[in-house]
């Protein structure tokens, strides 16, 4: 599906960690295309491998993790780049210039002992950019995230609030004009109002700077307001991918449907809330068949022995379920579609970790 509109092509991606008790397979055979200028949301439980998938876009999986497979980056002009085959020095140039990443725990993403200005400046310097021009861009970026540039640049990280730091980090991530911005739970540590304003901000920045966004979260309602397409990740692989509307109204994987059903609603008492029974598999175990089959209400012998490939449900909507046609009837969603995920609520997608 390689065409000029694709910015990143992920094929057969695996991420593994060697551990004492065996090989931990935290991303399994993922295939995913990201279109230029779209906002792709990736949703999944804690530990489903979504952060590892995101880090692989920059070949930045933390040690001792290893990404294998293929991640092809297509610059606007020039030859495609195979990200996982870049040398260390090539990676240093690729990161932040082509793909930047804002990740979990951005609260402590700045060096505590130097001013923010130094950290903007050293980024420009180490990438061989013109510093006065770059600092002008820094001012412009900080303004577009609604911060007072001079005040922020002359501050140390501890002098800023969480929301300010997050916005300053987003400005820093756009300093070298990357085409793709990967955001790994950028709103996780912020309050609801700040989450909202960051999401609005990202929307504006995307238009202003022609960005492609990959947004990772476990907050489904937040995603629905921002994403053009949503990819659902369960147990180290994608289970369903489609446009946001398709996924909300025509979800055809039992897991996605259960997830939508589990979205908390303030009008429903806590003991009537749906939860997904069971727990997710261990990354060390090799599951036969569909990884969701132990928890799936419609799983049969075929599901338990054979791994379902991604199947086209309709245009721009794929599901990794043999029974994608039966899923909507088998797993009903109690809330009416228009009452489903909306602003300000959080889904109960946090699975029980082992």
């Amino acid at each position: 599906m390689s065409n000029t509109d694709t910015i990143v092509e992920v094929s057969n991606l695996d991420v593994t960690f060697q551990m004492d008790r065996g090989q931990s397979h935290v991303v399994r055979d993922v295939n995913l295309d990201v279109a230029r200028n779209e906002t792709l949301g990736i949703i999944g439980e804690s530990g489903s491998g979504k952060s590892m998938l995101a880090s692989s876009f920059l070949n930045a999986v933390i040690d001792p993790g290893v990404s294998t497979g293929k991640v092809m980056y297509h610059p606007e002009d020039g030859a495609p780049v195979s990200v996982l085959e870049l040398s260390d020095s090539e990676l240093d140039r690729f990161r932040w210039e082509e793909v930047a990443m804002v990740f979990q725990g951005a609260m402590s993403s700045f060096n505590p002992v130097t001013k923010i200005r130094t950290q903007f400046r050293e980024t420009l310097q180490d990438h061989g950019r013109d510093i006065p021009a770059g600092m002008d861009r820094a001012h412009e970026l900080l303004e577009s995230v609604y911060l007072d540039p001079d005040r922020i640049l002359d501050s140390y990280a501890h002098e800023l609030s969480g929301g300010m730091k997050q916005r300053a980090l987003i400005a820093l991530s756009l300093l070298l004009e990357p085409d793709l911005l990967v955001l790994d739970e950028p709103t996780a540590a912020l309050d609801l109002l700040m989450q909202r304003s960051i999401v609005t901000l990202l929307d504006e920045l995307q238009t202003e700077y022609d960005l492609t966004l990959v947004f990772i979260t476990h907050d489904l309602p937040l995603l629905t307001t921002l994403a053009d397409r949503i990819a659902v990740m369960y147990a180290f692989n994608l289970t369903e991918i489609g446009t946001t509307d398709e996924l909300l109204y025509n979800a055809s994987h039992p897991y996605t449907r259960a997830l939508l059903d589990a979205t908390p609603d303030l009008n429903v008492p806590v003991d009537e809330m749906s939860i997904i029974k069971g727990s997710k598999p261990d990354p060390v175990d090799r599951i036969s068949g569909c990884s969701y089959s132990p928890r799936c209400p419609i799983a049969d012998d075929r599901c338990r022995s054979e791994e379902p490939p991604m199947m086209t449900v309709r245009d721009a909507h794929e599901s990794a379920c043999f029974y994608y046609d039966d899923a909507p009837d088998a797993v009903p969603i109690s809330a009416a579609p228009d009452e489903r995920p909306s602003s300000g609520r959080t889904t109960a997608t946090e699975g029980r970790d082992n």
Partner: protein
């Protein structure tokens, strides 16, 4: 706000100094024998040796002259007298045995002790920081575990044991370095290469044995660096494609060394007092050896004087550490909000 804090810290330091000196004075006075007793005995013995008659008044006069104390005055009067001569006249009294003031004795010895202590500290800390950083970068490697074992071993070895072993191997077995002294005989003093060489040659072993004492810092550095290596800002720095040299110095280095600054300043405070045993082993005539000899012969004015100097250096070093920490780590501002 800032000047308030400064005044408060300086006043605290002054009070600490005053209390320490007072306490030392009282403790010395409570020791059996005491400074005046010891001096009186020395004078009496000398007088008896000459066979002259003993004039008690003359003895008392001598005692008072040498120690700044009127030995028969009540303790509080002696205290007031000693303190006023120390604080108002900057007079630490006369040594009981040499014909020299305590001040001049100390002034002559302190630079030599400073020389070996400061070099030992600088070498010890530099090696520790580099070693600790390398150990952290290669965490869990064979190099890391072997270095840890060696450093823990060296750190647990008392430096006087290290000193004796060094003398044995380098001075007695191999005669590479001298066993003692601070300059060679017949070397002309002054700013010439031969004199400098001789100083370095004589200081080598004491410095080496004291540096080994400081190697434990490598473990602290390793721990700090391992912690910093796991910080989010380090990951972001790598993702930003910053140069490795910048990450090593500005990110890992600065953040890992910071917590050691106070420790370093307290270390400076200890340079003089820790020299006592080392200088004795290497017969290195510094202030440590002066104190050691003074203890042997109960030379109380010298003891009191050097103690005052040690206390002063300690308190000033810690005061400087306190006041400057805010400049080094922006997170610790001294209560001032000027931005």
């Amino acid at each position: 706000m800032r000047t308030d804090y400064l005044a408060k810290r300086v006043a605290q330091a002054a009070l600490t100094f005053f209390v320490t000196v007072t306490l030392t004075f009282v403790l010395y006075r409570m020791m059996p024998g005491g400074p005046t007793e010891a001096l009186r005995n020395v004078i009496l013995q000398q007088q008896m040796g000459t066979g002259n008659t003993i004039d008690p008044a003359r003895v008392e006069r001598l005692v008072a002259q040498y120690t700044n104390l009127q030995s028969d005055a009540p303790m509080y009067k002696q205290y007031i007298q000693y303190m006023s001569s120390v604080f108002l006249e900057q007079d630490l009294g006369e040594s009981l045995y040499e014909d020299a003031s305590v001040t001049s004795l100390l002034a002559e010895r302190i630079p030599w002790s400073m020389l070996i202590s400061v070099y030992a500290m600088v070498i010890g800390y530099t090696v520790s920081i580099v070693l600790g950083a390398v150990m952290a970068f290669k965490e869990k490697s064979r190099f890391d575990s072997i270095s840890s074992i060696v450093v823990i071993g060296l750190n647990s070895t008392p430096y006087y044991v290290a000193g004796i072993l060094l003398i044995f191997f380098f001075s007695i077995r191999n005669e590479i370095f001298p066993t003692g002294g601070r300059v060679g005989l017949g070397v002309e003093e002054g700013f010439n290469i031969l004199f400098m060489q001789s100083i370095a040659y004589h200081a080598a072993l004491p410095v080496l044995s004291m540096s080994i004492l400081g190697l434990g810092t490598a473990l602290t550095m390793r721990g700090n660096a391992v912690r910093v290596l796991g910080e989010d800002y380090l990951r972001v720095a790598k993702l930003r494609g910053l140069r490795n040299s910048r990450i090593a110095t500005q990110y890992v280095g600065r953040n890992a060394i910071l917590p050691m600054y106070t420790q370093f300043m307290i270390g400076i405070a200890g340079v003089l007092s820790s020299s006592v045993i080392v200088e004795q082993i290497f017969s290195y005539p510094g202030v440590g050896l002066l104190v050691y000899d003074a203890i042997q012969v109960r030379n109380y004015p010298v003891l009191m004087g050097s103690l005052i100097v040690f206390t002063l250096v300690t308190i000033v070093a810690i005061l400087i550490a306190d006041l400057t920490y805010g400049f080094i780590d922006p997170r610790i501002s001294s209560g001032g909000t000027d931005e």
